[in-house]
């Protein structure tokens, strides 16, 4: 299987603290992957590097068939070539409607002048409605997103990611603060998304990870400790010691 994203040997130091040490990671075209690890293991920093927010001190991040070097691109360019990111807190544009949020995320031209003259076509409208029903917000299209519940905002953000049509989705703790029913819906959304693209889920919650039924990568102190099925990694004595044992 050819890999979509290939991260090799990256290291980052913040004020003398080595947040990421010689980390290597790769993911294929249509794959669901969970990343777990204790606090400070470098999960969020890893996402920051892939999305261009943080530049690593050393290492390589290679993307796609053309082997693009992501370290040379800025955040906006990386998003444009097909990497979508969901933050830990739900970050939607609270002052705008669900429709406007989705419309903004929809895959279209991103430069100021085309956007200024852009008006939604019939397809754009139906695509937004389709996405809204997928994330269970079809009846909330004209509501301001600031009014939605916490779980609904999380879904809206996932919907915005899907609207971008990324080839790789990075999702940071999607289940945080959700009710049980909401978690199940979220699991389904992510599994469905992973059929056509790569999805990386960073998560604390073991139960949630178990439900994803996917390969798991365990991070510890900035590097990969173990990789494999959830049962495989939870049987690993090192993993039990640093993470599960506590």
């Amino acid at each position: 299987m050819s890999s979509l994203l290939e991260v090799s040997g990256i290291s980052v130091t913040f004020d003398g603290y080595r947040a990421i040490r010689n980390l290597s990671f790769s993911i294929g075209e249509a794959e669901l992957r969970a990343i777990i690890g204790p606090n400070g293991a470098g999960k969020t920093t890893f996402m920051d590097i892939v999305t261009g927010k943080t530049k690593p001190d050393e290492g390589k991040v290679i993307w796609g068939e053309k082997s693009t070097n992501l370290l040379r691109l800025n955040e906006a360019r990386i998003a444009q070539i097909g990497i979508g990111r969901k933050f830990q807190r739900p970050t939607v544009f609270e002052d705008q409607t669900v429709q406007a949020n989705l419309m903004m995320a929809l895959r279209n031209k991103r430069a100021p002048f085309p956007v200024l003259f852009w008006r939604p076509s019939f397809e754009d409208h139906s695509r937004v409605e389709e996405l809204a029903s997928e994330i269970g917000l079809a009846d909330e299209l004209s509501r301001k997103s600031g009014e939605l519940s916490h779980g609904q905002k999380q879904w809206l953000e996932i919907g915005m990611l899907l609207a971008q049509e990324p080839r790789l989705l990075l999702v940071d703790e999607p289940a945080a603060g959700m009710t049980l029913a909401e978690r199940e819906h979220t699991t389904d959304l992510l599994k469905e998304a992973a059929k056509t693209r790569a999805v990386v889920v960073v998560e604390h919650d073991m139960e949630f990870v178990r439900r994803l039924e996917c390969k798991v990568t365990v991070l510890h102190e900035g590097s990969v400790l173990a990789e494999g099925s959830l049962d495989h990694v939870t049987a690993n004595p090192q993993v039990i010691e640093v993470y599960l044992g506590r």
Binding site: G84, T91, F93, E94, D95, Q96, M104, P112, K144, Q164
Partner: protein
């Protein structure tokens, strides 16, 4: 869900109707075309106020919608004024010089005429040479193009440097203040070629127009009203579609917009430059009505006033900016004109010319604390503008983001 542009922005029609009614009423009460109820100088004040409303719209676009608290937009306003002033002074002096030389025995050469104009204009700063920046002053169209090009180019270069380095929040505000201060100090020098602290004067006289100021003042009022109307429609159009969504997204959470794939710097630069151009046009219409422009006009305080107007009127809505600018600048004219009777407290006389600034400052603080939506917020009582309750949280993590109190009814 799909409606026409006007339907989605009902404030446009209401605004244009009010503006038209205002213009017609002032015209009918003027010396030139009506009952002479309003003095010509007051017509000019009203015309100038319309220009200030236009620059307030620009400020609202850049601050209220895009979250960039620029405290330098009066620099662009002043530059627009200087550009139009150069042509007005040159053309009018040329007519005077040509008139006085016409009686000479030998007809003057073009060079002699040009030298004479230079002596007339720059005698006051002890020079008679035309500085290179007056190269296009003889051409009306070139100078009109510069009204747009000079503020636009300055904003483009300044904005590119500032936004590229991701300067945001209060640091950007300080940087814009430094820009307008630097421009003001530069213009104060006689070597700047724009007559130093004398500035450009006599701008109320249009070359080749024999009509009296009674008429000219009304013409400028019309021109200002048209510019304000067009500016309002343009601004409403810019913020109505997806562009408006992106720009408001930048105001509330620019990192998120970046991860959606929009180049935040490009959008900021676009809005900054567009508003600088609008400000330049407003200035070009303002100063012929004021009659004089000097470097004091682009002093840092002027741009701060602009932010105060928009804040009092209510940022993030275009009509709020217009109302704020019109009301505060007219009341300010009234207070500082010495027409308000002083209050005698027995032990102290409150002279409003001196105390007006204190009153304005107090109003600003009170509005910010107790009515953050400003005067524009009053309209929400009628239209029930709908906004989410955020339980005290702001609409986004960025410094310029809309406060909950500004959004909520």
């Amino acid at each position: 869900m799909r409606q026409s542009f006007i339907l989605r922005n009902p404030s446009i029609l209401i605004f244009l109707a009010c503006l038209a009614a205002f213009t017609v009423i002032v015209t009918l009460l003027s010396h030139a075309y009506g009952t002479a109820f309003i003095s010509t100088s007051f017509v000019k004040t009203l015309g100038k106020t319309l220009c200030l409303c236009l620059v307030a719209i620009a400020m609202d676009l850049v601050w209220g919608y895009c979250g960039i608290l620029s405290l330098g937009h009066f620099a662009f306003f002043g530059l627009g004024g200087y550009m139009v002033g150069m042509w007005l002074m040159y053309a009018r002096t040329e007519l005077i010089v040509a008139g006085s030389m016409a009686n000479a025995a030998i007809p003057p050469t073009p060079q002699e005429v040009r030298d004479a104009i230079g002596t007339q204009i720059f005698g006051v700063v002890g020079s008679s040479e035309f500085p290179p920046i007056w190269m296009f002053a003889h051409s009306f169209w070139a100078q009109m193009a510069l009204v747009v090009l000079i503020p636009g180019a300055l904003a483009l270069v300044f904005g590119w440097l500032a936004f590229r380095s991701r300067v945001t929040g209060v640091y950007l505000s300080i940087l814009t203040q430094a820009m307008t201060l630097a421009l003001s100090l530069y213009l104060f020098q006689n070597e700047s070629g724009l007559r130093g602290n004398n500035g450009l004067s006599g701008l109320q006289n249009l070359p080749g127009v024999s009509a009296s100021q009674d008429y000219i003042s009304v013409w400028f009022l019309w021109a200002s009203a048209v510019a304000l109307g067009l500016g309002y429609v343009l601004a409403a159009w810019v913020v109505s579609g997806k562009f408006g969504s992106v720009v408001r997204g930048i105001r509330d959470d620019e990192a998120r917009v970046r991860f959606l794939g929009y180049s935040v710097e490009g959008y900021k630069l676009f809005v900054f430059t567009l508003t600088a151009i609008i400000a330049g046009i407003a200035g070009a219409l303002y100063y012929p009505q004021a009659g004089i422009i000097n470097p004091g006009e682009v002093a840092p305080i002027a741009s701060i006033y602009l932010a105060v107007w928009v804040a009092i009127g209510g940022r993030g809505r275009l009509y709020g900016a217009v109302i704020g600018a019109a009301l505060v600048s007219l009341v300010s004219t009234w207070f500082t004109g010495g027409q308000v009777p002083s209050v005698n407290l027995g032990f102290y006389r409150i002279d409003w010319v001196d105390w007006w600034l204190v009153l304005l400052g107090l109003t600003f603080v009170l509005v910010t604390l107790f009515a953050p939506k400003g005067i524009g917020g009053l309209f929400d009582l009628v239209t029930e503008r709908f906004a989410p309750n955020r339980h005290g949280a702001n609409y986004g993590p960025d410094q310029g983001s809309l406060l909950e109190k500004e959004g909520r009814k």
